[in-house]
């Protein structure tokens, strides 16, 4: 079971509170986790990745295990601790004013 933590704005879109838990059947990568997340919560399509390019939106970051994974290739394996559910995969909105 993969654990995903969403920022407040995306929890509002998805109508969830707290962590999201997902089954990911393929290799656990950014792409497979986000694919599973968007399949479960279609409201998140386009909010984390661009609809057309599937690239991470500029002010969205991906953290896990105290590391910034935002610039890792989308098909690179996520840390084992994320794959086993010991640690969550964090989707973070960059800090900016206002």
């Amino acid at each position: 079971m993969i654990r995903v933590v969403l920022p407040a704005q995306l929890r509002m879109l998805a109508h969830v509170t707290g962590e999201v838990q997902l089954e990911v059947e393929d290799r656990v990568t950014q792409r497979s986790v986000l694919d599973a997340l968007e399949a479960r919560y279609p409201a998140l399509r386009g909010a984390i990745r661009d609809h057309a390019t599937q690239q991470r939106r500029p002010f969205v970051r991906f953290f896990a295990c105290e590391r910034d994974l935002s610039h890792e290739p989308p098909d690179a394996p996520l840390p084992d601790a994320v794959a086993t559910g010991a640690e969550p995969f964090l989707v973070v909105g960059a800090i900016a004013g206002g």
Binding site: M12, A43, G46, A52, F59, A96
Partner: protein, 371 residues
């Protein structure tokens, strides 16, 4: 008894203000979508309980919300705005080509007859239409394919399509306006478009009378006379009596002819309203006084309306989509400010009272008159 519902979009959410026909006591409902920018929300003329809202964020992009119960509950619908074909380029601020890139929906205009059909004006400037209640969106690409499209440049707020006027007498005629390209009209339902900027004069572009490049801020019409258009341009208030074929200036005795919104009285097609702003470098009202100006002569002769509005130490702006009118017998006028106030007049502008004073900065105001 009739009632009114005022739909307010702000920098940090949407608010719905309701009152009976007296327009004295108001209920404030919101924020909806707290923390998100709500550039615009508007109801369907064909089904007043059908509302559409543009919800966006610099972080998480565009969402479109739809309500079928007058704003009590909302449903996310489609947020994929894909330009038709290979979009090509427009010009960036520095004059270099830049690929068209979708940023946000500035304005939603529901069809006059079909609740499931709605138009969206977006940044970078393009017009989209949904015929399935907002679930899917298709670009009316003939606009961007206009021969001048590759030369369009953004204004300070971005290259935005912010005004959509549907002609109630001709389902195939639509007027739109883009900052800073100008006004355009289609007579074939959006297949082809022509620039309608003859008579505009803009000293801030190399050729002040060019076919395009004018920073049109807002256009308004009265539904009984769709060939008569009123325009608030970056500077200058303009009027056209031939569906945009030609324009003439009607700024007259305004203290400044810079501003953003313009609107028309519900029952008097020659009565129009603007909110003069000091200048394009000082986006606030002149002399610290918030005053709406009304012309009962279709322009040129203007009177200030300040009764009930702050007349000292006021330095707010009123944005282009932040004024609207109701259609009760005594026409109500409404506007919202960047200071978060929403003001209402139940007597066509003679006197004003704040409905609410401390919202986030107001981006848009629309009004529904309900039976």
């Amino acid at each position: 008894m009739s009632s009114v519902r005022v739909l307010v979009g702000t920098r940090k959410g949407a608010f719905i203000l309701t009152s009976d026909g007296k327009r004295e006591r108001w209920e404030i409902d919101g924020p909806h979508f707290g923390g998100w920018e709500i550039y615009h929300l508007k109801g369907s003329p064909a089904d007043p309980n059908r509302l559409y809202a543009s919800q966006s964020s610099g972080w998480f992009g565009q969402q479109i919300q739809r309500s079928d119960d007058g704003g009590k509950t909302w449903e996310l619908v489609g947020n994929e705005f894909a330009y038709d074909g290979i979009p090509g380029t427009h010009l960036w601020y520095d004059g270099t080509p830049r690929p068209w890139k979708f940023t946000r929906v500035w304005h939603l205009e529901p069809s006059l007859t079909d609740p499931d059909t709605v138009y969206a004006g977006v940044e970078d400037a393009a017009l989209f239409r949904s015929a399935d209640g907002g679930r899917t969106w298709q670009e009316l690409a003939g606009l961007r394919d206009h021969q001048t499209g590759s030369s369009w440049q953004p204004g300070a707020g971005g290259l935005c399509l912010h005004t959509i006027l549907l002609d109630p007498s001709d389902a195939k005629r639509i007027f739109i306006a883009i900052s800073a390209a100008g006004a355009f009209r289609t007579d074939d339902g959006g297949e082809t478009w022509r620039a309608i900027n003859r008579g505009l004069k803009s000293e801030y572009i190399p050729d002040p009378t060019a076919e395009v490049g004018h920073c049109v801020h807002r256009i308004a019409m009265h539904r009984s006379r769709p060939g008569v258009l009123f325009m608030q341009k970056h500077w200058d208030v303009m009027r056209s009596d031939d569906a945009g074929e030609s324009w003439r200036e009607v700024s007259g005795n305004l203290p400044t002819d810079f501003g953003f919104p313009i609107d028309v009285h519900a029952h008097e097609p020659e009565t129009i309203y603007v909110v003069p702003i000091k200048s394009d470098s000082e986006h606030y009202v002149p002399d610290g006084k918030l005053r709406v100006y009304r012309s009962r002569t279709g322009g040129n002769e203007w009177e200030p309306l300040g009764k009930g509005l702050p007349q000292r130490d006021c330095y707010v702006n009123v944005l282009r989509d932040a004024m609207a009118v109701d259609s009760l017998d005594s026409c109500g006028i409404y506007f919202g400010t960047t200071g978060g106030q929403v003001y209402a007049s139940a007597d066509a502008g003679d006197s004003w009272t704040p409905i609410v004073r401390d919202l986030p900065a107001v981006l848009s105001v629309e009004v529904q008159t309900l039976p």
